[in-house]
Symmetry: C2
Subunit: 500 residues, 2 copies
């Protein structure tokens, strides 16, 4: 690459790094590397750091302004011709650096005369003495990071003449086709830090509540649960199927006396639906626990778990939430705290709210996506919360393993949790009695013989239990209002997308 060749001409501290351009671990001088996020507190210090060149802009032939980026942080750097230190050649070479090149920079941190609006660190800049190319660009960027960082709206905005304005908007498909570049935006850096945080908060809460983490196989011998919508795998001379949830395995872990278990793992759904909220592979945060007296023990633990996640995000990640909010403006996510607690409606109460708003009762055997969103808006208006629970779903809407209500067999001991009017958790007490389970299987058209291993687990004695499954990407999408679940998945998979 021409740029890498040019690097060899630069007056750089090669005594430290030898033949640096190849970066094959030639030497190890152990020079400390700095983080841009620390620069505000380091006025006057010399720093050495690796960063992306977001932009380079020459001013005459004696000065270059660089915008240098690490993850969500950026700083302005100046390279100025200085006798004995910075040559004209070096300034020229620096001005020619391709956007998104990676450089190793040495310089002194100095207070900036005025706030630098183009950088996240606004009160200081770096006066550069050395620049070295770590990795160049081979080809053309699919889009600039500036364009990719603009607010991504689905609305077309027209100018005074009625012409659609050019914002250099980067379409979602273009982003996903070039995901490695797209993921470099400060927004995406923050989104995936928050995704990691949600998983961590989930685990912390459950570890401190007596749960252990389990790992169940994704390769299954039979197409379980519904028989439909599973991916078939060629398995040596036969076939296997990809698990559409860890439901059966985590229930077997309960029958095996682990008492409280959770799993974080991929879930596969072979549904050919290309909506804003469906993926063919997503991360399930699943848990299952024994019940001592009442399934509300499970529902309440799940509620405490969500509150712990929401609080953790607000307390420890407000910076990341603010970064995302610049590109995806959203009302702050609201939930109820204090003695009144989380809003819990029964399915019947939820239906009544919709009917009161004008939805014909006869269309409400189930709550479809549209009505779910409508209910979310009505609840928000009435109770000022983006988070609530619906309890006691009709039995006919739930899978065969759901425990019926003891007093009204048309209802079930089951619940869904909602964020901003979309379901993010589904759960229930499960049937632990093998005779009742077999009966419910037959009533839903499942042959008990086809799930013998699962049924046998309950024949060997099993405690009453319940649980739930959370979609990680949905929680992330809805908390941040990203509007499309693909934005909450690093490398999303849908019926049309298997790459990158």
């Amino acid at each position: 690459m021409a740029a890498q060749q040019a690097a060899a001409d630069i007056d750089f501290a090669t005594e430290f790094y030898g033949a640096l351009p190849l970066h094959q671990s030639q030497t190890r001088p152990r020079l400390p590397r700095a983080q841009i996020s620390s620069f505000s507190a380091r006025d006057g210090e010399t720093v050495l750091f690796r960063a992306r060149v977001q932009t380079s802009r020459a001013q005459g032939n004696k000065m270059v302004f660089l915008n240098l980026r690490q993850r969500s942080d950026s700083v302005q750097a100046l390279v100025t011709v200085t006798p004995e230190k910075v040559s004209k050649q070096m300034v020229k070479w620096t001005a020619g650096l391709a956007d998104e090149s990676i450089v190793l920079v040495q310089g002194v941190v100095r207070k900036s005369p005025e706030p630098i609006k183009s950088a996240s660190v606004q009160d200081v800049e770096v006066h550069v003495s050395q620049v070295h190319l770590v990795s160049g660009i081979d080809g053309r960027l699919p889009f600039t990071l500036e364009d990719a960082s603009r607010a991504d709206t689905d609305e077309v905005i027209y100018d005074a003449d009625g012409k659609p304005q050019q914002f250099n908007r980067v379409l979602l498909d273009t982003r996903l086709n070039n995901r490695v570049v797209d993921l470099r935006t400060p927004t995406n850096q923050a989104v995936f830090k928050l995704q990691s945080a949600i998983g961590d908060l989930f685990r912390q809460f459950l570890n401190s509540s007596g749960f252990i983490e389990i790992h169940s196989p994704k390769l299954q011998g039979a197409a379980t649960e519904s028989g439909a919508s599973v991916f078939k795998v060629s398995y040596f001379k036969g076939n296997a199927f990809l698990a559409q949830s860890p439901q059966l395995a985590k229930q077997m872990a309960i029958a095996a006396d682990f008492e409280r278990v959770y799993e974080i793992g991929p879930v596969f759904r072979a549904e050919d639906s290309n909506t804003h909220r469906h993926l063919t592979e997503f991360m399930g945060l699943d848990l299952e626990m024994t019940i001592e007296e009442h399934y509300h023990e499970v529902m309440e633990l799940l509620d405490s778990l969500f509150l712990s996640i929401f609080r953790g995000l607000r307390e420890k990640y407000s910076n990341e939430i603010a970064i995302v909010g610049k590109q995806f403006p959203a009302d702050e996510f609201k939930w109820r705290e204090g003695p009144e607690g989380t809003l819990k409606l029964t399915f019947r109460q939820a239906i009544d709210i919709l009917v009161e708003d004008g939805v014909p009762r006869e269309t409400l055997d189930d709550i479809n996506t549209e009505n779910e969103k409508r209910l979310g808006r009505l609840v928000k208006a009435k109770y000022d919360t983006d988070y609530f629970i619906i309890d006691k779903f009709p039995m006919e809407l739930r899978p065969f393993y759901t425990m019926p209500d003891p007093e009204d067999p048309t209802l079930s001991n089951s619940y869904d949790f909602f964020m901003r009017g979309e379901e993010i958790l589904s759960g229930a007490q499960r049937i632990h009695d093998p005779a009742l389970l077999a009966e419910k299987m037959r009533s839903k058209g499942v042959d008990p013989e086809s799930m013998k291993g699962y049924l046998d687990a309950f024949r060997m004695g099993c405690s009453p239990h319940g649980g739930g499954g959370i979609g990680l990407e949905r929680v992330l999408m809805l908390f941040l209002k990203l509007n499309n679940i693909r934005r909450a998945s690093m490398f999303p998979r849908d019926p049309k997308r298997l790459d990158p």
Copy 2:
């Protein structure tokens, strides 16, 4: 079930639980439930707890001894005919309880006159006033928990007449076919608590070292890495393949500037090998990080990670390790602490050790499984450690994306980690230069066009980086010396096993 019917006859506190036999969450008196593990400190207290009946043994018709179990804990309980409190009928019913039934028991904790060897809590017993059946057994247990808890040796032991002794040994296949019952042994309860602990220690260390957790798709558009040994999936009208590692995705996360990432997820290997250490699906603990100066930064972080896991297990889980040790006797796992640190050999030094021991040098282009174990024994004898690192593997033994050594291109910047003479981690600096990567692909017979998305990630600029992948089940198996990896997987998958 007859036993459940009988339960209704028992003089039990039905005022609290109503129609308890169905356990459909009828009432919620919020009575505190006790853990057997706390009983030693509760002499004289009345306790209410749910437990398995491991055994029930009548003594005459007025007394029954129960061995009651929760996870790895057990306690002896006595049911004795007592006027106005415990009837003859109740004693008879209790004596008839099937092994592995689940019961709700109320009683008073009393100091035991002598240590109870058959229970894990030996200094107290429970004098029972009420027993209620929570879940019965429907059918015959495949084996007793006592038999399943015996030391599981592969040796056949002969008596004085040369006849193989009957130990009621439960064979591994029988265990795995009835895994839900097998998992209830105190040993397995401890094994999977330790599995959860390893994952947790892995995460804790990396979270505090600036890593974030990522989730990469297991469904891939192309058969990556080697082209062979991947499972094919029917994906709508086309095909997909199951990822044989998150290698490509985690490297793309580095090219996307996440700097330090890890993933805990399933890894799929379509190799038809039925050894003690291969599974077709296992849990990969993977990490990838940028390098500032030298790939030993990565190797040293991985070393610190392992030391942190070993120390965490020894400090916080000695009880679980001891429980497993009763069924799987093993020398305590040893590693080097202090200033000398972990033993690091180069590949050449490792070969020399084997040659010195009599292995012909010409057979040592690679170190096969047998020689790996031999090396482990030699290292243990010489350095008193079960854990060591081999660095600088020959380039020809490593995948195309491995960075060559800067001074000797026949070597590479790569390493393996070993526990008790078996490889548990493989890692390296990776090639971040797209031209060199394409060249190495071609030299290993991989068409660069077939991995365009991956190559493109490096064309858009990528920092030097390295990482490694750890097999969770192998670490667990070798730390505890379980001798077969299937014992370290809750529901193992191999070429012949897809159930349960």
